[in-house]
C-alpha cells in the first residue's frame, strides 16, 4: 500500500507541477499605444488656436468629462467636454450616444480647432471612431459664477467658454417671463434674457427642437445650470435640462402674472399636424393643408373639396392635441377664419375623452362664431372668446369637422387657434 501511495502521489505531484508550471497566457491582440506625450489638456488644445483655424495632424488625444449632451435636443451633433484645465465644444460629424458624466478620450487627429463666431470649437470629430468612453457617471459639479464675470470678454472670448456653470439668484426678464424656452411649434431657437439682482443680464438660448422648447420658463427666481457658449460678442448660456433651474424665491422684479394656460397654433411652421394635431378622413380623400395664398399676412390652415374641376364628397376631421385644463380658472378658445363658396359649414367640436378614432369619440359641438360671409374672401374673422369653463379637465381636444358633397363645398381657412386662461 505504501508503494502504491508513493507512486500515486508522485504521479499527482508531477501532474500538478506540470500545470502550475506551464502557465498559459492569453493571446494578445495588437493594439495601438498612446504615449504620455500624446495626451494634451483641453487648455493646451484651446491654445492651439492663435489667429487661424488649425487642423491637428498628430496622434493626439484629450480626455474630459461630457458636460452637455444631446438627450434633451438642446444641442445636436455637439458635445461639451471639460477637464481640470478648461472646456471645449465638440462639433461632431454625426450624432452619438455619449452622455453627461461620461469621461471620454477624444482622438483629435484630423479635427480642427476653429474659431466660430468667436467661440472656440473642435470641429469635424467622427464620434464613431474618435470618441472613446472611459468611465460613466463622472458628472462634474458646475462652477458657481456671476453674470458679470461670465459676460466679460477677454480679447474675443469669455474665459468661461464651453464650461459648465451655475448662476444663483437669477430670474427671466419680464418681457420673457411668460414665454416658453423656445418656439416649440415653429421649431425655432429663441433667446431669453436672464437677469440677476444687480441688473446684469445674459442670454439663454434654446433650441426649437429641444424637448422642452414648448415648456414655460420658470417665473420665479432661482439658480440655473448650463454650458457657456458665445455668438460674436454675445455670451450665452445653453441649458442641459430645464429641471436644472431650481426655484428658490419669488421673483424680485415685478411683472404681470402669466396666463395659467396658453396654447397657440398659428401654422407658421407650414405644418397641419405639428404639435400633435391629427387628421382623419372618414370619407373621401380631402385634407387640410398649410397655405399663405392671398392677402393674409401669414400661413394658415386651409381645406377645400374642389379638385380643380369638381367637388369631391368628403368628411375630414382635424383633431387638436390633448390639453390639460384642469388647473385653469377661466379657459377661453379663440380662432380666426375666412370662408368662401357654398356648402356645409365647418363645425367645431370638443371632447375630454378621445378614443383615437373620431367616429367612436363622443363629441360636443362647440359654438364658435366663424366667418359669416361665404360670398368671397375677406379679412380673417376673429371668433372672440369662447368659454371652455365646462372643460376644466385633462385630455381636452377640439376638432374641426369639414364636410363636402359632390355638388358643393366650402373652402375654409383657419388661423391663430388659441386657448388662453387669464
Amino acid at each position: 500500500m505504501t508503494f502504491t501511495r508513493k507512486i500515486l502521489s508522485a504521479v499527482l505531484v508531477i501532474g500538478i507541477t506540470l500545470f502550475t508550471a506551464c502557465k498559459k497566457d492569453f493571446d494578445t491582440v495588437p493594439v495601438k499605444e498612446l504615449p504620455e506625450g500624446n495626451i494634451i489638456t483641453i487648455d493646451s488644445l484651446r491654445k492651439i488656436y492663435t489667429a487661424f483655424d488649425t487642423t491637428i495632424t498628430n496622434d493626439i488625444s484629450i480626455y474630459g468629462v461630457v458636460t452637455a449632451d444631446a438627450v434633451t435636443g438642446n444641442i445636436y451633433k455637439e458635445l461639451y467636454i471639460q477637464d481640470e484645465t478648461n472646456a471645449i465644444k465638440l462639433e461632431l460629424l454625426s450624432s452619438a450616444d455619449f452622455f453627461i458624466g461620461d469621461r471620454v478620450r477624444v482622438a483629435i487627429k484630423g479635427a480642427t480647432v476653429r474659431r466660430d463666431r468667436d467661440m472656440i470649437v473642435l470641429d469635424s470629430i467622427n464620434p464613431d471612431i474618435a470618441i472613446i468612453r472611459q468611465e460613466q457617471n463622472q458628472d462634474l459639479t458646475p462652477e458657481v459664477v456671476t453674470i458679470d464675470s461670465l459676460i466679460l470678454i477677454d480679447i474675443f472670448a469669455s474665459k468661461y467658454q464651453g464650461k459648465l456653470v451655475q448662476i444663483n439668484n437669477v430670474e427671466f426678464d419680464c418681457a420673457d417671463a411668460c414665454k416658453t424656452w423656445a418656439d416649440g411649434i415653429g421649431q425655432r431657437d429663441e433667446n431669453r434674457v436672464l437677469i440677476d439682482t444687480m441688473g446684469n443680464s445674459i442670454v439663454v438660448r434654446s433650441s426649437g427642437f429641444s424637448t422642452f422648447a414648448g415648456d414655460n420658463l420658470p417665473f420665479d427666481q432661482g439658480s440655473i445650470v448650463g454650458v457657456v457658449s458665445q455668438y460674436d460678442g454675445t455670451v450665452q448660456l445653453t441649458i442641459r435640462n430645464p429641471n436644472e433651474f431650481i426655484v428658490s424665491n419669488t421673483r424680485k422684479s415685478t411683472c404681470t402674472p402669466c396666463p395659467a394656460f396658453t396654447y397657440t397654433k398659428d401654422f407658421e411652421d407650414e405644418s397641419i399636424t405639428s404639435g400633435g394635431w391629427i387628421q382623419q378622413n372618414i370619407a373621401g380623400n380631402i385634407s387640410w393643408e398649410a397655405s399663405d395664398q392671398g392677402s393674409h399676412p401669414s400661413f394658415y390652415g386651409r381645406i377645400s373639396n374642389y379638385n380643380g374641376s369638381s367637388n369631391v364628397a368628403c368628411e375630414t376631421w382635424l383633431v387638436s392635441p390633448a390639453f390639460d385644463l384642469s388647473n385653469t380658472t377661466n379657459p377661453e378658445f379663440f380662432m380666426e377664419s375666412d370662408v368662401n363658396y357654398s356648402g356645409a359649414d365647418l363645425e367645431v367640436y370638443i371632447t375630454t375623452n378621445f378614443t383615437g378614432d373620431v367616429t367612436t369619440t363622443s363629441w360636443t359641438q362647440l359654438s364658435v362664431p366663424l366667418d359669416p360671409d361665404n360670398s368671397g374672401w375677406n379679412t380673417f374673422y376673429p371668433s372672440g372668446a369662447v368659454s371652455l369653463v365646462s372643460y376644466k379637465s385633462s385630455g381636452v381636444r377640439v376638432a374641426y369637422k369639414y364636410v363636402g358633397s359632390s355638388s358643393n363645398g366650402q373652402t375654409c381657412e383657419i388661423d391663430d387657434i388659441k386657448i388662453i386662461d387669464l
Partner: protein, 844 residues
C-alpha cells in the same frame, strides 16, 4: 432446477456486482445526460444550421465503463456539461454490434436516436481514452459498443416505471428476452414511453417512444444470423438560452423564451422531432476455434425536424430579442420606455416575456395581399391573407446504409489479430417546410432579405425555376439540398500479452468523399446552387499503440499514443449550404496527436487510476452562422487553421473502507486551449460579397468554453447486506469559461482603441464563470419475491441543495458592438435546481 440456478446466479450478480445493475448511477445516467442536453452548448442566435444536434450528443458516453474515473465522472459531472479530457464528442466512437452510430455530418453520436432503450444500451463495452478495440479504430476519447444481439439481452422480463421532474416526468419500459431457445431462435423486445406535459423548464414538453426488436437464429455451430430493428420517435419542446438580463427580470434562471399562449394554452414554437429507425442484419461466422467474422449490413432512414418562427415584413416577435428587452431603452432620454418595459418584464406579464400567438394569428388574418404572377404564371393573381408569421420546420431526412465487417483471429495464446472493413453511404435531404401558417392563407417563397436589397425580383427567389411560389402547410420552401457522404474504412489491429507486458498496435485507412446536391436554383447564386457540387475527397490514416507494464498484478503502468488525420466534417465545410455549394477556403484534414500515461492500482478493496494526457488537434475547421439584423441576413463565420491543445490529468479511486462502506473520489483538471491564430472568413447568406477574409484571430491560449476544465467529486456509499444502499456525492467544478467569439480577438475589433482604453479588455478578455458545487443523493433497495420476482427501487436526487445559480456555461454572441460590448451580452445556461429520478422495476 436450471431456472433456479440461473436466478440465484442473478442474485449473486446483483449483490456482488452492484455496479452492473443496481448502481444508482447506471439508472440516473441517461437521465442526467438529458439534463445536460437541455442547455445548448453553442448555438447561434437562430441556431438554424445545427438544430440542437450538439445538445443531443452523448456526454455520458462512458456510463457503463468499468474504469473507476469514467464511472464517477460519467455519473456526477455530466450535469455540469463536463467533457472527458475536454474533447468534443466526435472523438468518442459509439457503435452497435460493431456498426458506427456517430452521424457522418458532424461525427457526433446523438443519443436521442436510441433514447429510451436503456435496457438494451446498458449492455455495452466501453473503454476510455486511446485503447484497443475489436470493433473499429475508434476515437481518441474512447469507444462504446452496444451489444443488441438477442442473446446479449438478459433472459427474462423487466418492467419498470420511473417518475422524474427533468425533461420528462414519466417513463415506462418493458423488455423481454427469450434467451437462446431450443429451436435455435433468441428473441428480445424492448419498448418504452417517456412523457411530460411540462418538464422542469416552463413551456417544455416531452413525448418520446422507443422500440427494439432483436432476433437471433443459430443456423449451425458456425453460423448465426441476427436481425435488429429499433427506433425512438421523439418530440419535445425546447428551451431557450438567454442573457442574464432576461433571467434577472423574470427572476427565473430557467426562463424560456420559446413558448407563448395561444387561446390561453402554452405553445412551444421550437419543437424537435426525430425518428431515425435502423435495421441491421448481422451474420456471426465462427470460421474455426480461432477465427470469427462478423458482418453487418444496415439501413437507416428517417428524419429530424426542428420548428421555429419565421416572419415576413413584421416585427421580431421573440420576447428576448435585444430590441424587445428593457436594456435597449436604458439610455438617457428613454427613461419612460425603460421603466415601462422593465415593469412589464418584472411582473412576468406573458405579453412581454413570452411569445404572443394570439397576436400573430390576428396579424395573419388582417394582411390581405394580392400576389401577381403567382407561381411564376404571368397574370396569375392570388389574393389572400399572406402570412406575416409562420412556424417552419427545418428538416433533415436521412438515408444511410452500409456494410461493416469485423474479423478476429487468435493467432496464439499471446497474439490476437483484429481487422475490419466498413462502407457507409449516407445522404441527408435538408429543407424547410411550412409547419403552421398560424391562420394565414399562404406564404410566398422569396428571400425577404434579398428582396429588400435588390430591385431585380429573380434575385430574391429561393428557386428561380419555380418563382413567386405560393406555399402552404406541408410545402417545402426556402432551401432544399442534399449532403452526400461516402466513407470507406479499413483497420487492422494486433494485440499481444505476456507476463509483464500487454501491448497493442493498430492502423486505419479511411477514404471520405462528400458533396452537396442542390435541389433549388437560388436567385442570388444561380451558378453554384443547383445540382452536384465538386466532390471533396480526403484520404486519412491513423496509427495508435499502447502498452501496459505490469509491475505486479496490482500495479500497472499504461502508455498509449495515437496519431491520426480526420477529414473535415461536411457540417463545417460548406460556408452556406442553404444557398450554395461553396466550401471553406483551404479545406483540409484535421491532424490529431494524443498520448497518455497512467498508473493503475487494482486491489480488491482499492482501485485507482491516475493519468496524464496531452493531445493536440491541428487544422480544424470551425463555422457558425448567426443572424445580423443590421445586415438583414445570416452571417457565416468560418475559421480554418484552428488548433487546439488538451493537457491534463485524471485521477479516480474507489475504496472499500469496510465491507459495507465505499468511498469514491475523482479529480480531473486540464488546460483545454486554442493553440493557434486561425484565419477567419466572414460571408453573408444574401450576398456574394465577403465581409472579411484572411482575418487573423488572436486565439492562442484562449480557453475552450462552455465546459468545466476542472471537476472533482467525492462520494461515500453504504451498501447493506440486506439489499439496500444509500450514498451521496459532493461535486465541485471550476475553470468554466464562456465560449469566446473569435471576431472579438482580431485587430479590427479594437482598431480604434489604444491600450489604456477600458474597451480593449472588455472586448478581448475571456470571461471566467464562478466555481460551484452540487450535492447528489441516491438510494435503492431490492426485494426477491417467491424466489422468482425481483423488485428494485432506485431514487436519486441531483442538486439536493437546490442551487439554482450555478452557471454551467454559455457563449459570447457572435454579434457584438465595438462601442458597447454590453449591447449583445453573453448567453448563459444554468444547471437545473433540485431534481429527482425514482424508478421501480420488476424483473422475472
Amino acid at each position: 432446477m436450471r431456472i433456479i440456478k440461473i436466478l440465484s446466479a442473478t442474485v449473486v450478480f446483483t449483490t456482488l456486482s452492484a455496479s452492473a445493475q443496481t448502481t444508482p448511477s447506471s439508472i440516473s445516467n441517461e437521465d442526467s445526460t438529458e439534463n445536460a442536453t437541455t442547455i445548448p452548448a453553442f448555438t447561434t442566435s437562430l441556431d438554424l444550421l445545427e438544430g440542437d444536434a450538439q445538445a443531443q450528443d452523448v456526454s455520458g458516453l462512458l456510463q457503463s465503463s468499468r474504469d473507476v474515473f469514467s464511472n464517477i465522472a460519467g455519473f456526477n459531472f455530466s450535469a455540469a456539461r463536463y467533457r472527458v479530457r475536454g474533447y468534443d464528442s466526435e472523438n468518442f466512437s459509439v457503435s452497435m454490434n460493431g456498426v458506427s452510430l456517430n452521424e457522418p455530418e458532424g461525427g457526433r453520436a446523438i443519443w436521442a436516436f436510441w433514447g429510451g432503450l436503456n435496457d438494451i444500451t446498458r449492455t455495452q463495452e466501453s473503454k476510455a481514452g486511446i485503447s484497443s478495440s475489436p470493433y473499429s479504430f475508434g476515437g481518441i476519447g474512447g469507444f462504446s459498443n452496444i451489444d443488441s444481439r438477442a442473446t446479449a439481452v438478459r433472459k427474462g422480463t423487466r418492467i419498470s416505471y420511473a417518475s422524474a421532474n427533468r425533461s420528462y416526468r414519466n417513463r415506462v419500459m418493458v423488455t423481454h428476452s427469450t434467451g437462446m431457445m431450443e429451436n435455435g431462435f433468441a428473441i428480445a423486445v424492448s419498448a418504452s414511453k417517456r412523457w411530460a406535459g411540462e418538464g422542469y423548464i416552463d413551456g417544455t414538453f416531452y413525448d418520446g417512444g422507443s422500440y427494439l426488436l432483436s432476433i437471433e437464429k443459430k443456423i449451425n455451430d458456425k453460423h448465426t444470423i441476427g436481425l435488429v430493428g429499433y427506433g425512438a420517435p421523439t418530440a419535445r419542446g425546447k428551451r431557450s438560452i438567454s442573457t442574464q438580463e432576461a433571467y434577472d427580470l423574470t427572476g427565473n434562471n430557467y426562463y424560456n423564451s420559446y413558448w407563448g399562449y395561444q387561446n390561453g394554452k402554452k405553445r412551444n414554437s421550437r419543437i424537435r422531432t426525430n425518428h431515425k429507425p435502423r435495421i441491421m442484419l448481422n451474420h456471426y461466422f465462427k470460421v474455426n476455434e480461432k477465427t470469427n467474422i462478423n458482418t453487418s449490413t444496415y439501413y437507416s432512414f428517417g428524419k429530424e425536424g426542428n420548428t421555429r418562427l419565421n416572419w415576413y415584413s413584421a416585427a421580431d416577435p421573440r420576447p428576448d430579442y435585444y430590441r424587445n428587452l428593457p436594456s435597449y431603452y436604458n439610455n438617457p432620454g428613454d427613461e419612460f420606455l425603460f421603466e415601462q418595459q422593465t415593469n412589464l418584464w418584472e411582473s412576468n406579464d406573458p405579453l412581454a416575456t413570452q411569445l404572443d400567438f394570439d397576436q400573430m394569428y390576428f396579424a395573419n388574418t388582417k394582411n390581405l395581399f394580392t400576389l401577381s404572377n403567382a407561381d411564376g404564371v404571368a397574370g396569375n393573381s392570388v389574393t389572400g391573407n399572406r402570412a406575416k408569421y409562420i412556424i417552419e420546420e427545418a428538416r433533415k431526412d436521412v438515408t444511410h446504409y452500409g456494410v461493416n465487417m469485423n474479423a478476429s483471429h487468435k493467432h496464439s495464446e499471446q497474439i490476437m489479430i483484429n481487422g475490419g472493413l466498413d462502407v457507409s453511404i449516407y445522404k441527408s435531404n435538408n429543407y424547410k417546410l411550412i409547419d403552421d401558417l398560424l391562420g394565414a392563407d399562404f406564404w410566398v417563397d422569396v428571400d425577404q432579405f434579398a428582396e429588400r436589397d435588390f430591385a431585380d425580383e429573380t434575385i430574391a427567389q429561393s428557386d428561380i425555376n419555380n418563382p413567386n411560389r405560393i406555399v402552404k402547410e406541408g410545402d417545402r420552401f426556402g432551401y432544399d439540398y442534399d449532403i452526400n457522404i461516402n466513407t470507406y474504412k479499413g483497420f487492422g489491429q494486433i494485440e499481444g500479452t505476456s507476463k509483464k507486458i500487454d501491448w497493442f498496435a493498430a492502423l486505419s485507412l479511411t477514404s471520405t468523399s462528400f458533396w452537396r446536391t442542390g435541389n433549388y436554383q437560388n436567385g442570388l447564386f444561380p451558378d453554384n446552387s443547383l445540382g452536384d457540387s465538386e466532390k471533396q475527397s480526403f484520404f486519412n490514416y491513423g496509427i495508435k499503440g499502447g502498452a501496459i507494464y505490469k509491475l505486479s498484478g496490482r500495479h500497472l503502468i499504461r502508455l498509449n499514443g495515437a496519431h491520426l488525420t480526420r477529414a473535415p466534417f461536411s457540417r463545417t465545410a460548406f460556408v452556406s449550404p442553404r444557398t450554395r455549394d461553396q466550401v471553406v477556403p483551404d479545406l483540409e484534414s484535421e491532424k490529431l496527436m494524443s498520448g497518455d500515461i497512467s498508473y493503475l492500482v487494482r486491489y480488491p478493496k482499492l482501485k485507482a487510476r491516475a493519468t496524464l494526457f496531452h493531445t493536440t488537434l491541428k487544422d480544424k475547421t470551425w463555422s457558425r452562422s448567426f443572424y445580423n439584423d443590421e445586415l438583414n441576413t445570416f452571417v457565416n463565420y468560418m475559421m480554418t487553421g484552428v488548433d487546439q491543445v488538451f493537457t491534463g490529468l485524471e485521477f479516480g479511486a474507489e475504496a472499500n473502507v469496510t465491507s459495507t462502506i465505499i468511498v469514491t473520489g475523482a479529480f480531473a483538471t486540464g488546460k483545454f486551449l486554442y493553440d493557434s491564430r486561425p484565419t477567419a472568413t466572414i460571408i453573408q447568406d444574401n450576398s456574394t460579397e465577403l465581409l472579411a477574409e484572411d482575418k487573423t484571430v488572436y486565439f492562442k491560449n484562449f480557453r475552450i468554453g462552455g465546459i468545466p476544465q476542472t471537476a472533482a467529486s467525492i462520494g461515500v456509499q453504504y451498501r447493506s447486506p440486506k439489499y439496500w444502499f444509500v450514498g451521496t456525492n459532493f461535486n465541485y467544478f471550476a475553470d468554466i469559461y464562456l465560449d469566446a467569439n473569435p471576431d472579438r480577438r482580431t485587430e479590427e475589433a479594437i482598431s480604434k482603441y489604444v491600450s489604456s482604453d477600458p474597451q480593449v479588455s472588455e472586448i478581448v478578455d475571456q470571461t471566467k464563470l464562478d466555481n460551484d458545487y452540487t450535492l447528489n443523493l441516491f438510494a435503492g433497495k431490492s426485494w426477491k419475491l417467491k424466489d422468482k420476482y425481483f423488485i428494485r427501487l432506485n431514487v436519486n436526487v441531483n442538486n439536493v441543495l437546490d442551487n439554482t445559480d450555478f452557471q454551467t456555461g454559455g457563449f459570447e454572441q457572435l454579434r457584438y458592438d465595438q462601442n458597447e460590448i454590453g449591447k449583445f451580452p453573453p448567453m448563459i445556461g444554468y444547471m437545473l435546481g433540485r431534481t429527482y429520478f425514482a424508478m421501480v422495476s420488476l424483473s422475472f
